[in-house]
């Protein structure tokens, strides 16, 4: 007996290959270094120091991204037994890790612009952003519910602070409180679901019971044998509910408008892109892993959720004039389209390509739009209305183009990349024969044209008064110009990204 335990522990410690998690570890170290600057830096040279911290964070993340891509062989060991089964890597998790670093780079860029405008502390923000990014990366690699929950909490707690970061702003505080209570509630749902699954899978009266009920692979076998068990179903539903909160899918979407509006814009962008992407990927992983045997039970439920999510997001957004709320609500509908791809992934494993492509384009386009918000906003960016964009194109053609390309891609207009994303999603939905959802998605897309074009229209209207032109720095021009070019390029030659995904 003792022999058995010793050899098991040995095996465990042998599987602790810390090297594969080096990117995540370096992110955490980088975040500590950033905090160190505040400890030793002189207050008199604050401005220089702030700029320096931004550069360090940006360069560090770029270096880690390069490290991850160049050392792909050593940091991505598909199919090997890591950390006693806590971590499992695949080509898909590798892509998602790159995606999250990219997302956090974008958020860092947005934050540096935003924080200096709003005069908020910098180091803490970069620090939390890096931690959340490391959390996301761990989350997608976890193959066991304990690590899954812990990394999810790492992310969520970082977000509690990021949302309420603007402490002097009542809206931001309100958003923080709302995110805290609802986030805690969703964590409770998730945990409850996990415990139910763990408990029932350890029941010796059931066929195929296992003592490793947290392990995805064990759980998959158990659920395969007990797909009709009510507690299994309830447990799975609760886990999915917890994830739907991250995704912003109905009926867990209610926090989105308020939190998006109140949170500092970079945080909103972070919530809209990385947080949503994490939810999407984790859901796909669970549906193709542990919950695979529940497909007959889950597909109708998810289809209903998807239908309402698409319609709710689009209909609610069409009456909105506050841009951040609008982006939040339209983000709900994007979650709905993605859910369509997720449901298709039950039947068509290749739908990951479509979903990932969509996520990448959503990230790029959102980055443009949120970047534009930060450029435009004067003081209270939470109160920014569509009217503030009136005549933008004639005030500054570059910013106008940025907004038109970003929104156009979100709306899915050819030849922009967002169109290809929608096309790929529709295509897999067709293959999976989800005709009803395709119809709903079409209705949704047409409604979304209304509000996206309403916004674009505002940008193209003529300038009414002789307001002064808005300036944009040369560096920003290069960054945003690059993203614009990328969106157009991916619309014309989508093969670049698709071949990478495959």
């Amino acid at each position: 007996m003792t022999n058995g335990i010793t050899s098991f522990l040995q095996e465990l410690s042998l599987s602790n290959q810390w090297l594969v998690l080096l990117p995540e570890i370096s992110l955490a170290l980088l975040s500590l270094v950033l905090l160190g600057f505040d400890l030793f830096g002189k207050a008199s040279r604050q401005a220089v120091l702030d700029e320096f911290k931004f550069r360090i964070s940006l360069m560090g993340q770029l270096a880690i991204l390069a490290l991850l891509i160049i050392g792909r062989e050593s940091f991505n060991q598909s199919g090997s037994f890591l950390f006693g089964g806590l971590v499992e890597q695949s080509d898909q998790t590798f892509l998602m890790r790159c995606f999250f670093i990219l997302g956090s780079i974008f958020v860092t860029v947005l934050a540096s612009r935003f924080l200096s405008k709003a005069n908020l502390p910098k180091a803490e923000y970069y620090h939390l952003c890096l931690l959340a990014c490391a959390g996301f990366m761990l989350l997608v690699q976890s193959a066991q519910f304990v690590l899954f929950f812990v990394s999810l909490e790492l992310v969520t707690i970082a977000f509690y602070i990021l949302v309420a970061f603007n402490r002097t702003n009542a809206l931001s505080l309100e958003a923080g409180l709302k995110y805290l209570t609802l986030g805690a509630l969703s964590s409770a749902f998730l945990l409850f679901g996990i415990v139910l699954l763990y408990g029932i899978s350890g029941n010796p009266n059931l066929e195929g019971y296992t003592s490793l009920g947290f392990q995805f692979s064990q759980l998959q076998e158990f659920i395969h044998l007990n797909a009709d068990n009510t507690i299994v179903r309830v447990g799975a539903l609760m886990v999915i509910a917890g994830i739907c909160f991250k995704l912003g899918a109905f009926p867990f979407q209610i926090w989105i408008p308020d939190v998006y509006q109140g949170a500092p814009t970079p945080t909103t962008a972070f919530l809209a892109t990385s947080s949503k992407a994490a939810g999407v990927f984790v859901l796909i992983q669970l549906l193709q892993g542990p919950f695979l045997a529940l497909s007959e039970f889950l597909i109708p439920i998810l289809s209903i959720i998807c239908t309402i999510t698409i319609l709710y997001g689009n209909i609610a957004a069409s009456g909105q004039s506050n841009v951040k709320r609008l982006l939040g609500l339209s983000g709900i509908s994007h979650a709905g389209y993605l859910l369509m791809g997720i449901i298709a992934s039950f039947l068509i494993p290749e739908s990951f390509v479509a979903v990932f492509f969509y996520l990448c384009l959503y990230l790029l386009s959102s980055f443009l739009v949120f970047g534009l918000l930060i450029q435009i906003s004067q003081e209270e960016e939470g109160q920014l209305e569509i009217g503030a964009f009136r005549g933008l194109y004639s005030k500054n053609a570059f910013l106008g183009t940025m907004g038109i390309i970003g929104l156009g891609s979100l709306a899915g207009i050819p030849p922009l990349g967002g169109f290809i994303g929608k096309l790929l999603l529709l295509n897999v939905a067709f293959q999976a024969e989800l005709y009803w959802l395709i119809g709903v998605a079409l209705v949704g897309i047409v409604i979304s044209i209304y509000y996206y074009f309403g916004w674009i229209r505002a940008m193209l209207t003529e300038q009414e008064s002789e307001e002064k032109a808005i300036a944009i720095s040369f560096e920003d021009r290069i960054i945003y110009g690059f993203i614009i070019a990328l969106i157009v390029l991916l619309g014309l030659i989508p093969g670049i990204l698709i071949s990478i995904i495959q």
């Binding site: 156009g408 050819p414 169109f419 529709l426 295509n427 067709f430 079409l442 193209l460 989508p494 093969g495």
Partner: protein, 517 residues
Amino acid sequence: MDSQLLFSAIWVPFIFGSSLALIPSKVGSKAYKWISLAGCLWPFLVAWYLFFQFEDGLQGGYQFEFLQSTGLDSLGIYLHLGLNGISLPLFILAATVGLAAIFYALHSHADRIQLYLSLLLIMLSGLMGTFSSIDLFFFYFFHEFALIPSFIMIMIWGGVARYAIALEMTIYLTLGALLSLVGLIALYQQSGADTFSMLALSNALAERPLTETIESNIFALLFFGLGILVSLFPFHSWAPKGYAAAPSSAAMLHAGVLKKFGLYGLLQIAIPLLPMGAFAWSPWLITLGLCNIVIIGLVTMAQKDLKQMISYSSVMHMGYAFLGLATFSVLGAGGVLLLLVAHGLSVALLFMLSTSIYKRFATFDMSEMGGLGKIAPNLSVFFVLAIMASIGLPGFANFLGEFVIFAAIAEHESLRWVLFVSALGIMISAIYGLRSIGNVVFGTPVKCNSEEEVELNDMKMFEKLPALLLLGSLMIIGIFPKLFSDKANRDLMHLYGDQEMVLEEISRSDENQNLND
């Protein structure tokens, strides 16, 4: 070589157009005219060069094929271009109207003219692409490519209430485009051909025909999707408003060429590939087509605004094309093709002239016009001829198109009644056409809007040249239709010849069944 030329007809206007948008206006103030002229002249030359290179001797099918991967190989999507006898006339139409519209726009004195020209060139590149695509995905893609600039042009340079109209048009046309996209994807999925290539699809469908239900479902998607884009009754309300608000060159390209996309899609793709589905929906084709002719015709008669009248008349004439399609015969399809080209030329000409007339009277209201014949004799001649062409005077291409369609309808005994109803349309168009001539050209001349600009009155060179181009093409085709019909015949026979037999069999078996009952 020829295939590279074909591709260049798409990318040359695109590159020239986007470079116009990027050049700072100070540098470009002299060069922009030459750049945009070169950008629209190139496709025109290429189109005519390819016309003469087009070999008649073949069995039909595509020539000058161009194949290029864009990385969507896994979905079976390639940039696959080529022309056949059906797409060639429309390809030339796009180049001709594009040349006329952009030449006219050069002198339009619009604000930010560089951006205007750049959008027109991008639109032209999309139009050249959509009519030369063999791949269904790019067929759709290029259409959207041309559609988006037209929305933006309406928003920036449009007339009264342009924002609301642009929004309505956007929603309507996006809905239509999405429906047809879903139809195309459904066709791709159901055929099992694993490619969006029209050739491979038709082969796959010939080997494994779809069931009648699936065919008719997919056809419904394409019919209504494309129908919205062609302003099929009752989805037409975007068209008159949109054209009335659009700046003239954008209206010329949109009404003249882009709108033909929907009918071209039905003619080239939907009906040949889904004959049973089309047959099941043919009562709808006929009914809605007749509604377009009669109801919209009556609405056209009631218009007092010149541009509105032209817009409505363009909606009305689309009804004949739907009737022609519903005959499922080589003759009918040929008539539709002729009508598409003729209508494209004539409506573009009318939109251009109406703007020229507006410049003389400073109003579009026909009751406040009069005596154009005295103020601007040349312009009046062009206007009268254009109206005559549009209402189908023999000698112009429109007459032939309509005549052939009527002849094709008359071949079907069950469709004779349609002939009587649609003949009403001829009277209706004669009424509004002649009345507009009476109002605008004759009558006592109203006072010129400004006495100092008397020398502006008659047509300038920049107005005459595009008008001559369009009117000349109309007359050449009208007198010598062999130009296109020879080339189109083989492909029409290929696509519609079998169908006639199939349909005869279907109707025969129906009759047998009736007898058995």
